[in-house]
């Protein structure tokens, strides 16, 4: 392909729209009709003139590596409908071979490049004030942790048997207390507890597991100063503190293994999870991006692309969480499917990761070759010998949509495939699949 990297799909473009109205308006501009002088550069920018209601057409540029947008229209929406329309046009038909950009687009692109090259100037910090603030917060969290611990112990003293009837109210109140204690990580774990009695047989065991892990987190926090640095960082993150230290930066060619969104229970926050893997180092990385209420996350990395970039890992949490740093070039297609491991090895990897982060729900692995086995009671991914398998969770946190599973079955046709996904104590959640003879990944939506 000689164009601006791999073209996105229309869904990827539309996922950027700030609201439904923009999505529709952008859709209308996604045909060749209103556009003229469209073009794109090899470094990953597209531009064009869009005829509006006025005499002069709007000038629209998109830097695909951001993505970042610039348009001469007066809209305050971001990206505006013209940028969306231009991206849709590019996604559907492309804008031809790379060409030098027109002057009006070039200025903005050059400005962006210059800004990216300038190192950010760190603000001077009042270390003393920061230390005091941290101490105050630690004290509040400590009080919250002690209170939570007390509540767990009280409940166990009387027995969990009544929890089926207890309802959400009591847990919601405890969660609110944890928010007051500035421990959002604890708050969300507590909220999860309320849902467990409703999830069918086996709930007491699951409840005890969650109690036990909360208890472990409480105890770890109370003794955090005595823990090794990595584990202490994990505990702080799990409780809900932002990382204090800069993490390790790794430069590599990163293959995008998966990208998917989930919506918070109240529907207000969209979380986008992007899984990367270093092609040289083999290290997995999880990049999160958030969309504020009513807006999808801005970062969009199509599955199968490889980007040369620096990835900065946050301390703790088994070294998974990472932030995408400076990108060196436009992303290119990956070229081949990754090599998978056995079910056994996948579970071992999860087990090993638990040492660094006992609260870890799952670990990213490429599994394969495996055969998806649809079943009345649940799905499995079985090895080629047909002996061992990983179950696929159908519902609950981490459960994938049924349509994604059927896509997986369709891709396999009863034969072996390579699958990327998250393996954990609930089973294996498939996210991306590769057919045996194709380098092209299939994102399981």
């Amino acid at each position: 392909m000689t164009e601006q990297g791999v073209r996105w799909t229309a869904e990827q473009v539309l996922a950027l729209a700030p609201d439904d109205a923009s999505r529709k308006a952008g859709g209308k501009l996604g045909g060749a009709g209103p556009w003229s002088q469209t073009g794109g550069s090899a470094s990953g920018a597209v531009w064009g003139l869009c005829k509006g209601s006025g005499k002069t057409p709007y000038r629209t540029v998109v830097d695909l590596t951001g993505p970042a947008y610039k348009c001469s229209c007066p809209s305050r929406k971001f990206p505006c409908k013209h940028a969306l329309g231009l991206l849709l046009l590019w996604a559907a038909e492309g804008v031809g071979d790379p060409a030098p950009e027109p002057e009006w687009a070039g200025e903005w692109l050059a400005e962006r490049a210059a800004k990216a090259a300038r190192p950010a100037v760190a603000k001077p910090v009042d270390e003393e004030a920061a230390r005091k603030r941290a101490e105050r917060r630690a004290a509040r969290i400590g009080a919250g942790v002690t209170e939570l611990e007390q509540r767990l112990l009280d409940l166990l003293r009387g027995g969990l048997a009544g929890q089926e009837q207890a309802g959400y109210g009591a847990w919601e109140e405890t969660a609110a207390r944890m928010v007051d204690a500035q421990a959002p990580g604890l708050a969300s774990r507590v909220r999860e507890l309320a849902t467990i009695p409703g999830c069918g047989p086996g709930w007491p065991a699951r409840m005890l597991e969650e109690f036990a892990l909360l208890h472990l987190l409480d105890q770890a926090w109370l003794g955090v100063s005595g823990l090794p640095e990595q584990l202490a960082a994990t505990v702080r993150t799990r409780v809900g503190l932002a990382p204090s230290a800069e993490g390790e930066a790794v430069r590599d060619h990163w293959l995008v293994l998966s990208q998917y969104d989930s919506v918070s229970p109240d529907g207000r926050l969209i979380t986008r999870r992007i899984w990367l893997r270093g092609l040289a180092g083999g290290r997995p990385a999880l990049v999160l991006d958030f969309g504020p209420p009513g807006r999808p996350p801005g970062l969009a990395l199509p599955v199968g692309l490889v980007l040369e970039a620096e990835v900065r890992f946050r301390p703790g949490s088994a070294g998974l969480r990472a932030d995408l740093g400076e990108r060196c070039a436009a992303a290119v297609p990956g070229g081949r499917a990754p090599v998978g491991v056995s079910a056994e090895a996948a579970l071992e990897a999860y087990g090993a990761a638990l040492r660094e982060d006992p609260w870890l729900e799952s670990w990213p692995v490429v599994l394969g070759p495996v055969v998806p086995v649809p079943g009345e009671w649940g799905w499995q991914l079985a090895d080629l010998e047909g002996t061992s398998a990983l179950p696929v969770p159908l519902a609950g946190p981490g459960g994938r949509s049924r349509s994604g599973l059927w896509q997986l079955a369709a891709v396999s046709g009863g034969g072996p495939v390579t699958v990327f996904g998250e393996v954990g104590h609930r089973g294996f959640t498939p996210l991306t699949a590769w057919q045996p003879d194709s380098p092209e990944p299939v994102a399981l939506v």
């Binding site: 009709g33 166990l156 954990g424 104590h425 299939v442």
Partner: protein, 539 residues
């Protein structure tokens, strides 16, 4: 963390998932859960903290020591589909079209964006024509689309091929694909496998038996009717009716003995259907009998409808009691004429051709009855000459036509004409009467519309714009045009989207709406052209 201990317990990922416990080896964990349920006050000597400490260790041991589950039985692998996948650009388009289905609709058909829903059927048809198979990953979405829209099914199932059927056997949501009949049901025995055919015919579900009948019939028509005869008297009346109905496909003179026998059926509906099928076989004995009766009533000397419905007429499927509001004699006459071979009228009217016969004056107000019956006969016997005669001139006012003023009837007559004549007739109709009446007639024309027809439609739209109408008065035709206009007509439309605004605005805002509507039409055509080009195999 020590994992070996947990490994010895042999706990598997599957059990973890399903939450099953209860074997001896888990006694420890089960004991913990039991204590937690009952409360430590009643068990374990009252230390909830010790319980939590222990549970934390156990939980992590369980998680860290997970083992793979026992594999279930795997499905049979899908047969290989040797057809190629569509080229990359076409695959992207397909993904987009499948995702776009159902997205439209809200807010009516306004705006300049193309309507993707209507392009999906054309994409499917073109892809089948080129011999592609659906990309495997898209097969589920394709089956879902076909589930929702029955009109998509034949092409969707052809495209999904063996992979689609393999999926349909696993997912009850897609069962419809297995009933596909001609679209491919590999479970059907081959028509030459006599034993297999016999067994399925005796034991199969109704849908399977219909499919089997079709398959055997395609191979050997006589064998199919022979098969039917073996169980005919034991079938339920409604099933007999459905089997009979399936004979419409590939109806031939070979079917006459069977149909003739069915004229004596217990069920009136079966008798009527058998008679109808026999009358479509213009050489059949029944057609001959009906001709005798009809020719006795209608001739150059005038019309003399039957005065009674005798036993012979009843046996030949004539329904005795007219619907409310119609006279008995007219009702009988209509049925006789409808079932009589049209070829017999020439000699009866002294060698006149159909157009001349149709043009003859009919006395005593029988004209409407007679012409309507001839229309039904022309459609049933697929007779283009008579259809043309009954349609008359496209430019004359519909009510003045010889056959029928009903657009539905005329559409049926048109469907009998050869493609070119059909398009020409409808083009002339549109030029004379505009678009408001043309919707049904346009629907029977071959896609893409022939040049003259496309031109007539675009001109009529332009005329409607100049007359000050609003585009949504023509939304039906607009939708059809998006599906049916030849992409080559797009340039003409683009000229219209830039129509000068110097005309006096008869209706407020109409010009802008028209511009938008034409733009959408043009961009849909453009998209259709691109879409079809993408599907063309690289040569």
């Amino acid at each position: 963390m020590e994992t070996a201990g947990a490994e010895r317990t042999g706990r598997t990922a599957h059990e973890g998932h399903a939450g099953q416990q209860g074997q001896e080896a888990y006694a420890d964990w089960d004991g913990l859960v039991g204590a937690a349920l009952l409360g430590t006050e009643r068990r374990r000597g009252g230390s909830p903290r010790a319980l939590l400490d222990e549970a934390a260790v156990q939980t992590l041991r369980r998680r860290a020591g997970l083992r793979p589950a026992q594999a279930q039985e795997r499905p049979e692998p899908a047969p290989r589909d040797p057809r190629p996948e569509p080229p990359e650009a076409a695959r992207r388009r397909f993904t987009q079209l499948l995702a776009g289905r159902g997205a439209g609709g809200s807010g009516g058909r306004r705006g300049a964006a193309p309507d993707l829903t209507e392009l999906l059927p054309q994409w499917l048809a073109a892809a089948v024509r080129h011999g592609y198979r659906a990309p495997a990953a898209l097969a589920p979405a394709l089956l879902d689309a076909a589930k929702a829209r029955t009109d998509l099914r034949p092409h969707a199932l052809a495209l999904a091929g063996s992979r689609g059927l393999w999926l349909a056997r696993l997912n009850p949501d897609w069962r419809f694909a297995l009933r596909g009949g001609a679209a491919g049901t590999p479970e059907l025995p081959g028509p030459e496998d006599r034993e297999g055919v016999e067994r399925l015919w005796q034991e199969g579900l109704f849908a399977e038996r219909v499919a089997l009948l079709g398959a055997v019939r395609a191979h050997d028509p006589a064998a199919a009717t022979a098969l039917l005869t073996t169980t005919w008297t034991a079938e339920r009346a409604e099933d007999r009716l459905m089997f009979l109905d399936s004979l419409r496909v590939g109806l031939s003179d070979l079917d006459e003995p069977f149909l003739e026998a069915a004229l004596g059926d217990r069920s009136r509906n079966v008798r009527a259907t058998a008679a109808e099928l026999l009358s479509a076989l213009t050489g059949s004995a029944l057609a001959g009998r009906m001709a005798e009766r009809a020719l006795a009533c209608v001739g150059p000397e005038g019309i003399d409808p039957p005065t009674e419905c005798d036993a012979g007429m009843l046996r030949d499927g004539v329904v005795k009691r007219p619907p409310a509001g119609r006279g008995e004699r007219a009702w009988w006459l209509g049925q006789l004429v409808e079932a009589a071979p049209l070829s017999r009228w020439r000699e009866r009217f002294g060698g006149l051709d159909p157009a001349a016969i149709v043009a003859l004056p009919v006395g005593d107000g029988w004209a409407e009855e007679l012409h309507a019956a001839w229309c039904r006969a022309a459609v049933r016997q697929r007779d283009p000459q008579w259809s043309k005669a009954l349609l008359g001139s496209a430019s004359a006012p519909p009510a003045a036509g010889p056959g029928t003023a009903s657009l539905a009837e005329r559409a049926k007559l048109l469907s009998v004409l050869p493609d070119g004549e059909r398009a020409e007739w409808v083009a002339e109709f549109v030029r004379a009467h505009g678009l408001s009446e043309a919707f049904q007639l346009l629907g029977v024309c071959v896609v893409p519309w022939a040049g003259a027809l496309g031109l007539a439609v675009v001109d009529a739209l332009d005329a409607a714009r100049q007359a000050g109408s609003y585009p949504w008065s023509f939304s039906g035709v607009m939708g059809l045009a998006e599906r049916c206009l030849d992409p080559a007509d797009a340039s003409r439309l683009e000229a219209l989207t830039r129509a000068p605004g110097d005309t006096v605005e008869v209706s407020p805002g109409a010009a802008a709406y028209w511009e938008e509507a034409f733009q959408r039409l043009a961009s849909t055509l453009h998209l259709r052209a691109t879409m079809l080009a993408e599907l063309t195999p690289p040569s």
